[in-house]
Amino acid sequence: MAKEDFVNPFTEGVNYEQFKEALGKKTVAEYCKDKLTSEEISWLESELSILNKK
């Protein structure tokens, strides 16, 4: 099975809907491990938390 490409939410043109779809059932920390910095991961977790409260 081909490895799915990492959907980087900081890439221009990528929105949170696309990122959440790529996350699937993984947490942000699991999905983004070794791909983003800890600061970026922490910030994304905060962003998705804000979105989930809407």
Binding site: P9, F10, T11, E12, G13, V14, N15, Y16, E17, F19, E39, E40, W43, L44, S46, E47, L48, I50, L51
Partner: protein
């Protein structure tokens, strides 16, 4: 039988001068810290031009008529001013011998002859000025809030963060839009995608709530984001507009360090971040870095519908009623050279 009371409607020349004195109470307008156009007719266009020239080898031939040595684009965006009012009543016992919170420039009251009318102006004009000053930096109309809430949020350039979307939602609902609100969403035809939609500003990735511990690092992100986009030496004109609370964070950051943080320097009350002046304004949650001339406050001081009226309450009531009508809107230009922290 109806009771009729006639009050005072000031002539336009007086209203114009009164509004000049209102602006004197609004620091942003008094000190001209942004680009102010007091003669913008509602729905008139704000024009932006993008001109580029090409250095070429010398030629004795005439300049080519196709203009291949230069490129000049003109973009006009119609900006409608929002009409709004302030009104209220002032009890007479508030006008007699009371001490007022602020003094007022000698101008406005001297145009009005009646004692109580003068005192009403002295009472309300500072408050109107303060309200305008706050609204320039914090607030959005109901329609603007809805438009921004409908944007698809994202982390990357070219999208609005959930943080920014929430900050706008928490803004006071005003009758005209603040600069952060119009930077985030506007209908400029000079954008890469013309028309109503997300602004073309540069956003600082991963904005957070600032503390004295992180303010230096977050300002550095803003600085680096900004100068990645600014192409030339016009950067010396650029300034940082920051919330009033950032001053206390800078002071705390300096006092908390074993040596004074060289990033934030204060000389004679003026603060700079690595040489760029920081101007503290009543903005909440956002910071803006750009040439101040890119931030427009538009109003129409000469509009006949801009009025100030007052009269005594009906049936000999012991209070004075007043109503002031004005027009305003904010608008950003050269958006690609505006950096927004929090957007």
């Amino acid at each position: 039988m109806a009771d009729t009371y006639t009050g005072t409607k000031y002539p336009q020349s007086v209203v114009e001068q009164i509004f000049t004195d209102v602006y004197a109470e609004a620091k942003t307008l008094r000190d001209n810290i942004i680009n102010i156009n007091e003669l913008h007719k509602s729905s008139a266009e704000v024009t932006e031009t993008i001109t580029s020239v090409t250095q070429q080898a010398y030629s004795i031939d005439g300049v080519t008529l196709d203009g291949s040595g230069s490129d000049n684009d003109v973009f006009g965006t119609a900006v409608t001013l929002n009409k709004f009012q302030y009104d209220g009543k002032v009890p007479f016992n508030h006008l007699a011998g009371t001490r007022f919170e602020k003094s007022i420039a000698a101008g406005a009251a001297n145009y009005i002859s009646d004692e109580y009318e003068k005192k009403v102006l002295i009472n309300i004009l500072p408050a109107i000025g303060t309200s305008l000053d706050k609204a320039i930096w914090n607030g959005a109309t109901t329609a603007q809030k809805a438009a921004i809430a409908a944007l698809t949020p994202g982390a990357a350039q070219g999208s609005l963060t959930a943080y920014g979307q929430t900050t706008v939602a928490a803004m006071p609902t005003n009758q005209f839009n603040s600069l952060p609100a119009t930077i985030i969403y506007n209908a400029s035809n000079a954008k890469a995608t013309p028309g109503a939609g997300l602004g073309d500003y540069r956003k600082v990735l991963t904005p957070v709530a600032l503390t004295s511990a992180n303010i230096a690092a977050e300002y550095l992100k803003m600085y680096q984001t900004h100068f990645a986009a600014v192409p030339d030496s016009s950067e010396s004109l650029h300034k940082i507009f920051a919330p009033l609370g950032d001053k206390a964070l800078m002071v705390a950051a300096n006092k908390g360090a074993t040596t004074v943080n060289p990033d934030f320097v204060e000389v004679d009350g003026k603060w700079t971040y690595n040489g760029y002046e920081v101007i503290f304004v009543p903005m909440v949650g956002f910071r803006i870095m750009c040439d101040p001339m890119f931030l427009l406050f538009l109003t129409d001081k000469k509009n006949d519908a801009q009025t100030l009226e007052q009269q005594r309450g009906a049936n000999l009531a012991d209070f004075q009623l007043w109503k002031s009508v004005a027009f305003a809107e904010t608008f950003p230009v050269n958006q690609r050279y505006i950096t927004l922290y929090g957007g």
